[in-house]
Symmetry: D2
Subunit: 447 residues, 4 copies
């Protein structure tokens, strides 16, 4: 796999990362992808799906540990035992993980646990680390991050309404959360909950806190699990919770009261790169299906294989081009983050966030269309990958929010560009005199 790293990217990939990438690619192709269907079969049907952790995942986790593919997401600056890959390096690994349903968890690199581990590694107290980070790093427990709420536009975290009220050495939580991914997992024993702890703080970005809540705390009610298209995404799933007077020790607060924004912002940049690169992996895998199907001699259209049809060849060419462009955009963002200034990478991260799922969905759509009925069914991974990728245009803020933000930032150059064009027009005007030709353009209109 390291042999096909784009030339523009090569200087940023160490030999160590190349070796890990190659090992990972084989692990995903030969072990994880074949295991995906077994995982699904082990889950079974109906309510049982929430009651087990398929044994095949645990077996793969042990293999990943043995292969040195465990926790490869974790950078050294967050954790001394971190794998120490750059965001770009882990990015190209995440592309491989994205091709399989269970590869990420097999390598302990699945969201939301990765983000939660980063938060704990970076901000946790020693006690918090011992209690929650250690077993997360070994894969013995799972966690969830409870941020989104059903009744507010909570992609703007200032709108969050779950209340946290101080009561002695405890915080008391009341409110609702949904789309809490990982909530269904039998191993999920802790939630990182974002709430409004300091409603009176004049700075609206300092009213929120993130606190650790044991999953079995009294007062937490799992109202139901949300489905995505027709998928329940068991065994982790997406929970809809109600919190009624849930009491949590004050020592469970992360970093400190009012620092919720700081926590989620540090969490989002690299997380978006991971999401985006997994989406690239999804796109690559769907392109593989499309190309394989196009060479199938058993299913001809108008007497020809699909790869003898110009329209399908164009789909393949467009997919190849779009995926290659999206990968460069995402890795360019990763390099910018690696350059040390994650905040300066806002533009690049937004671009990655928008483009990768778009390309994945376009490629999946064409792959599904190439495969026909198989494509929409349980017989290929395409339909499930599509449903998953579709949510990426919504989670962490819909595309349009990022797009508007990008547009506004670019538009800030408006006045200086007006001046630049005006200056050029002035020079032109002088040159017209100098070269003794007539200027016919309007005098007053700017453009």
């Amino acid at each position: 796999m390291s042999a096909v790293i784009p030339p523009l990217v090569l200087p940023f990939v160490s030999e160590r990362a190349k070796k890990t990438l190659d090992k990972l690619a084989i692990f995903v192709e030969k072990e994880c992808i074949p295991a995906d269907a077994v995982f699904e079969a082990q889950l079974g049907e109906g309510v049982d799906r929430w009651k087990i952790q398929p044994s095949i995942v645990e077996d793969l986790k042990n293999k990943a540990k043995a292969l040195g593919l465990w926790n490869i997401f974790l950078p050294k600056n967050h954790y001394e035992n971190g794998a120490g890959y750059t965001n770009l390096e882990y990015g190209i690994m995440a592309e491989q993980l994205g091709k399989s349903t269970i590869a990420s968890e097999a390598c302990n690199c699945n969201p939301p646990d990765t983000g939660n581990m980063e938060v704990l590694a970076k901000y946790g107290t020693e006690g918090q680390k011992r209690k929650w980070l250690a077993p997360l790093l070994t894969g013995d427990i799972r966690s969830a991050f409870l941020m989104t709420e059903p009744d507010t536009a909570s992609s703007d975290a200032r709108n969050i309404q779950l209340t946290m009220t101080k009561d002695g050495d405890y915080w008391v939580l009341n409110g609702s959360k949904w789309w809490s991914s990982g909530a269904g997992h039998t191993k999920t024993v802790v939630y990182l909950v974002m709430g409004k702890s300091s409603p009176n703080d004049p700075d609206p970005y300092k009213q929120q806190s993130v606190i650790l809540v044991p999953a079995n705390a009294p007062g937490i009610k799992l109202k139901r699990m949300m489905s995505v298209f027709g998928y329940d995404d068991a065994p982790h799933g997406h929970g809809h919770f109600v919190f009624e007077n849930v009491r949590v020790p004050a020592s469970n607060m992360i970093v400190g009261e009012g620092r919720g924004f700081e926590i989620i912002q540090g969490r989002l940049g690299p997380g978006r790169i991971h999401h985006a690169m997994r989406a690239i992996g999804v796109a690559e895998r769907s392109l593989e299906y499309m190309i394989a199907r196009a060479s199938d001699e058993g299913k001809l259209a108008f007497g020809k294989k699909l790869n003898e049809h110009g329209v399908v060849l164009q789909w393949i060419a467009e997919a190849r081009l779009n995926i290659d462009a999206a990968r460069l955009i995402v890795l360019n963002a990763a390099v910018k983050i690696d350059g040390g200034d994650a905040k300066a990478a806002t533009k690049e991260i937004s671009q990655a966030k928008i483009l990768a799922p778009r390309v994945a969905l376009e490629t999946l759509d064409k792959a599904i269309q190439s495969l026909g009925a198989s494509g929409v069914s349980q017989d290929t991974p395409l339909a499930a990958m599509w449903a998953q990728a579709r949510t990426l245009r919504i989670v962490d803020g819909p595309d349009e929010v990022h797009s508007q933000q990008l547009g506004k930032n670019e538009a800030k150059k408006g006045l200086s560009l007006q001046r630049k064009i005006q200056d050029q027009k002035s020079i032109t005007s002088n040159l017209m005199d100098q070269y003794e030709v007539r200027d016919e353009s309007p005098t007053k209109a700017l453009l």
Copy 2:
């Protein structure tokens, strides 16, 4: 300008190239762009437009020489006095050149002269170099490349029909050529003409030759000039020629009889990078117009500036994203060529060839729509840039030809991908037994 090189690209740009880039960017912005309208005014109207070389270009040429911006396109391996920039480095310079009508010629970097100079530098005899290359390098003469023919699909050069017949020490040429860019220029004194010299060679790729033909050779008739969306593209223009018994000394043959393909192929790779990067420059300049217009307080829509309208902000964001992606795709191709294996870069070059004009046209369309009536008129450079960019989807082979070729190459992986998926299914099947779960997928169907 060197300050905004994308992080992924930075390792490939030398300090010397950065300095040249910065000088060039200022030269284009402050001298060339303001001169564009003067150049057009000096051309005047009607048939006079073909009779002059506006003096402002000659003045700019002298400035460019003084600034060290002359002949920056020419790599060292082609010519000992070449500027010696890599394809990537010259690529980011070409982006700047693309923003102005006359900047390329001001720096002696305008097609088709650049390609012709490369051909002569690489393949020319000493005599040919002395006679034609030397004055081309100084900008004293101009040249044209006559390849396209009106009555054949000549984007496949095997179809070329202009005949070259040996008659003693002469070749005699008969046939038609059109879209011969540069043909109208008063300074154009030589044509590189591709024709069929060896129709009986069994290898269809060895039947063509390229020969140097003085513009004033008897028998050459300039039938007319072609227009592009109403533009005559004076003073260089695009000629439609008829050749009737045009006699050329055999010593004018380049490299040797039957080596025409070799010549045009060497010419195309870097040329496409140049075209593509100039198109990126066009896109950037049109985005500047769009953003400037969007901040205009004098022309409100529904009582608001355009940059307060979500639709326009989205246009700006999309343009920013698409341009950034296209630039990375083109520069990735440039790096691959710089890696020494231009032939291995076919895929990357085709991607660049397709994507850059597409993005330029999309951005121009939105810029034109933002500016309204000004955008389609002579008052902004947008309409003319659009017409120019539109031809890029056709010249050197229409997009679809490249797209089909890309698709076919990708599709070649079909059988190995079928096998890969089948292998994964076999492993799955074994795992199903091992984990004692039931496999319900169809046994026979591939996918």
Copy 3:
């Protein structure tokens, strides 16, 4: 609802049809749509979903009968007791049915039963009608049409491989079928099965037959149910069958041996109009959700309601335009069929088949994006409608097959259009002489 029939359509809608339409629209809005969620809740979870017919459907069926909305799909020329609406009239009714999951069945207008009833009404013997058509018309039984096969490109029915072998007074069936919609329903007691009965007939369009097979015939194995983007589409579902030596009385053959093509072709024209108009209904309902969401004051983005955001307004405007255009295209096809010449309507039917699902999917995508997480979940009908609409681009032949066929038919005009343009050029040439002006265009090139 009759008040918003487009002016171009009005002349084709009788007063009787308007009244039925208005009654139906209210029935769908006030009774069926509210019942959809109850229907889903009654189905429950897991394997139980295949064991019941929710009682609410039976109650709605009685209401529909009482309201005169029962069997409104059935034209008089097929059945003396048919409702007698034109394809256009039933088309605008089908739009209403498409808005609800269960409205079609509530009115006994659900596929595949409608098509099957039409086949039986048109081609069935008296015995077949008595046994199967009568209880289908009363809604007491359900049926399925088994055509698609897992291992062939069966959208071209000539590829069908299930064998029918004559054995005395019986036909013996062997082979596989999948995507047999309706197969899961507890009430489904009969399958119309297409197979290859006459493999040696020299006419490849006369090798297939359609035969009636009781669902409980020995040798039929329901291998599994197919899912669509995670949805099982219970209680009817889509079955994957294996036929092993299934014996059927020869009297069950429809019309006669070798007439399978005739049967499916008569079935497809009106069926595609129904599908398309239900898709228009889906689009309308999703637009309603988008518009309702856009006015929600509880969920603001950047401090504004979605309908104060230009991008969302543009989505709404585009949806309105696209839906209105698609409706006219579909109804234009319906009028052409009503004109009596269904075969001459091939172009129009293909256009309807392509455009309606495309518009439905585009509108749904924007509606989902507007609603965010709710849109992809079980909380709105959008996700399920999307999955359903996505299959319409595949069933009855993928879009691309129809598109290529359309393109080929149009392209047949090529030579006559060449002649037309050449004739115009000749006239121009004469006029040039007559008006004494010079013609500069190329003489030989056609265009």
Copy 4:
């Protein structure tokens, strides 16, 4: 041509209109289209292009009169001698006119004269009619409508700044106008000028007036002609005027002071239908070129005719579908206007205004791409038609203004749709109780 009227449209076309349509179609195909190139050749080059009216147009005008194709645009309710076709009927005729550069003028149906004649017929005094309408109806003079201004967003007419000041029996005009189509024509002797006559009227829609200004009035300076892409659109062109103390008799005021809005609004509805249907004609003609080129055996790609390439067939199919849909949308708007309530047709007219040029441009783009270099040049009508069609997305208000307006109008249904959905949820809730199943959807969230 009447034989291919879509079935949905047929009931609206009288036998008389069908006959005229057929005659017109032949006139356009056999006389006007062949004359287009002659017209262009007669215009010549440079400044001479503004000095002549090519004689071929005058000859065609006489032919059109003889054939009964003169003034077919003019409805009876505007003028007793009007041709009396409905908007729909003239619409399908305008489609034919759109295929040729000069057909519209040949039939005296060219803008802006048509709109100006309608204004004079509807609002003019007897004196105004005698002086201006009579010679316009005979085609002896031409006119222009001066509305757009260079320094304001004048697509919102309230922004118009040209001042009209009463001075005794005269109005004195000061200001600038541009994009005044028809201004270049040697026969244009009168301008309808919109200006601000009543700046103090409290109603911003009553501050403007339209007045008749002789083209030779002192103080009018034609600053320059605007070009569209590289086309000057001679001989009529688009003028940029400066008005300095231009004195006009008060009797030249149309209808009355402050009634400018009323005048332009009456002018726009049918005018937009005309524009849109001509654009449909443009699309049809470009499709003809694409199909003809695709059958060209002389220019093969990959050894095959273009119509053997799937991608081109798809282009053709899409073009056919899009054109057919756009035509129905435009004619649906025409029927609505014909129904008597032009104001109620705002939605339909906007849809027509947006869709027809979009489809024309898409079809032209594919046609140009099919024809390659010929397509962008003077050798086919495609490039010029493209430039013309591109302006339609801007004139009379850019698409986006119409789109936002459409979106806002649809969005007004927001609250009632919220209620409708809430009501359905309430019914669902009751049904859940009644059928004794559990409702799991969120209680508070609307959607």
